[in-house]
Symmetry: C2
Subunit: 481 residues, 2 copies
Amino acid sequence: MARQKEADFVTHIASRAHDFPQWYTDVILKADMVDYSIVKGCMVIKPYGYRVWELMQSEMDRRFKDTGHVNAYFPLLIPESLLQKEAEHVEGFAPEVAWVTHGGNQELQERLCIRPTSETIICSMYSKWIQSYRDLPLLINQWANVVRWEKSTRPFLRTSEFLWQEGHTAHATSDEARQEAATMLEVYKEFAENVLAIPVLTGQKSEKEKFAGAEATFAIEAMMQDGKALQMGTTHYLGDHFSRAYDITYLSKEGKLEYCYTTSWGTSTRMIGGVIMVHGDDRGLVLPPTIAPIQVAIVPVAQHKAGVLDKAYELHRELASLGYRVKVDASDQSAGWKFNEYELKGVPLRLEVGPKDIEKDQVVIVRRDTHDKLFVPIPQLADSIDELLKDVHATLLARALDFRENKTVNAVTMEELAAGVNGGFVRAMWCGDRACEDSIKAQTGATTRCTPPDELQIHLDTKCICCGREAERLTYFAKAY
Amino acid sequence: MARQKEADFVTHIASRAHDFPQWYTDVILKADMVDYSIVKGCMVIKPYGYRVWELMQSEMDRRFKDTGHVNAYFPLLIPESLLQKEAEHVEGFAPEVAWVTHGGNQELQERLCIRPTSETIICSMYSKWIQSYRDLPLLINQWANVVRWEKSTRPFLRTSEFLWQEGHTAHATSDEARQEAATMLEVYKEFAENVLAIPVLTGQKSEKEKFAGAEATFAIEAMMQDGKALQMGTTHYLGDHFSRAYDITYLSKEGKLEYCYTTSWGTSTRMIGGVIMVHGDDRGLVLPPTIAPIQVAIVPVAQHKAGVLDKAYELHRELASLGYRVKVDASDQSAGWKFNEYELKGVPLRLEVGPKDIEKDQVVIVRRDTHDKLFVPIPQLADSIDELLKDVHATLLARALDFRENKTVNAVTMEELAAGVNGGFVRAMWCGDRACEDSIKAQTGATTRCTPPDELQIHLDTKCICCGREAERLTYFAKAY
């Protein structure tokens, strides 16, 4: 089939080079991931988008359980007085919460906010549940919806309601809590790379960018194809801030009453936006195989001919029985329409089978990532699919890593920084002062993304790129979502 | 170990015979299923309780997918004007919704309710998504939290916020929608019996008891050990009520614009309360194996002796590798304490292994449901566990069915009805009039539970048990949760 004709089908998607935000909107709507709702700032996650989330959840949940965490569920609604107990926390979140003032026909005595995050309600329970060192560590995760009243929203990236997971842990010592925050950051990084095929930088957020109420916040940061950064997950070492505010104490082995040290960590449906913006192309979505709702789309060619549909279903049965997510499209749409449909939906492999293929006991496989076309003998199909899906993942990850490295520069002058963040990440020395951070933002539009850990620090210079005073640490700067 | 000493551990649980509601509260708290929160009427589902819900979700979700449904996610918040479009629906739900009036620091132009159920928001999207007969049927399920402002609450059974699934489907014809409501009722029944080991009655709810806005509501109803009924799930045939209110139309094959017919169906964390009240005993929870977080609790006896812990962990590895959920308790608590702990938590099988057992290459297994003690040669362990778990399920189901049948009576007089519902279900003829339903409730405290389908109808009498006028259909009456 002619490439020209195929191209016609996708002209309704803006090109990335021409208008990246419009391309994003076109892709998520045309690929049936999401829809706008009547409720301002709230999205509907359609079945195809939700299936991606389910597959991500299942991969994450297994990792959380493997690292000793269990799931629980805490109330959606938080009394105002409870929210207010941790001063920095309430200051950070109060301006963006939704308030419930009436239940049924009655005005409430105290208004309740819809959780923007659950530290407050969870800490109020931990205070009750934790008595002795035997109760520690307490390692709980929650899958939930949260609401943050956003003025400007974009599906998946920033919506007033979103779905997420939030881990909340309590520990006997500061070291142990710091280790938990580091461990979960590593879990997020490994998940991003091995499931989403997205390479991420890890490091610590600045004081300005950290979570309201945290002692330290750590993040995984990814580069989108427009060179902007997306924060894809954060872990927080909360010190004893919340333990003191919510009175979480334990009796130590030595019989002393001590405050706990706590952490929290979260990732959300925002990551779906990241997958789209890292891997998508001008034909639509490109999904990493592990989270693709359909891994292999079987398109029968000349399906009215004897034996074609039978063979298509036979291959479906074989692959499905091996655990692959497979779909046969036997609809009355043209083969060309189907080719485009599954490209738009980011299906990693398209399998074509027609009368001539059946004669030769082979199928045609087309990769979504490279558009490579392969002829595969049917007896070798299962092995080929396995290898190909692994290779699609590896190719996506390597391509995204190359892209990021090519678009990341070192800067020692503000001019270099300003040029670099116009389409990429910049490494630069920063003194750590808020004044310089604000000034860099005002001059370039870039924010601090993260400061890498010591072992990944390099010294580009001895001076802060902004104020010229002594600076010991390198930080990543970028424009960000 | 002496039974007397064991009994001491559980004296803090009220006996079912003496105070059933107190027994329920004791069990859910002591077994660590749930806790009360600072938010009135809202519960915290603790990890052990939440794990039961996860296992239930996984079993239900598979059944929904096997019957052609997909999951999606719709907004939590519903504008007041949208809620009001279906007259009966808003009348039923408005008195019990929570209202959001402020976002951040601003008063909203229109207040939003937290979904008490999602017909309104989902129908507003279906109106947009459904254009042609090709878009039908649309078969979507949502896993979500909902809020209904309840005056009097009990964990799992009735709380202001609860977790549930809600299926929402749209069809071209009335027959097809009716069939969907029937199919999902059957799915619920099969799930109740084969997963929860709870026998259920199925049938249609009265006009008074049906869902606000439905044409017909069908339910699964189970008998608790106090003889009261628990409605464990409902399916609704909504006719074209919501299609007309929300303008869900499609172009038929013949090119005519037609209204869709819709259904909805839901089950919730309430079912966990049912499991507790159907199977529990005076020692605590009794969990059906399919939803037990721990299926086999391994208790090492004389664990300080050489080889005991090694053997316990070896058995753990063997059983875990076969897919069983197993725990070794090597804590420094006494064996007696552990026996009671896993009885309280409803673990189906306790496996004891000590030096003498190791010598004989055997283990001791104690069933939670019957307290039977078996000596099982280790080489036969895997097969025995498989058989025993199946038998525990079958025994629980048979026992619950016997209980229900023994506590269900036929009545032809109001005296018989009043006596019967004092601890059980009553079958009686009813004319179908609301006046009689209200009168029966006023006289006996019982409500109509469900009217069985035609094929399960029997004619006890020709007259309504209340008014004496002609009555053709038998209905179940009971006091209910």
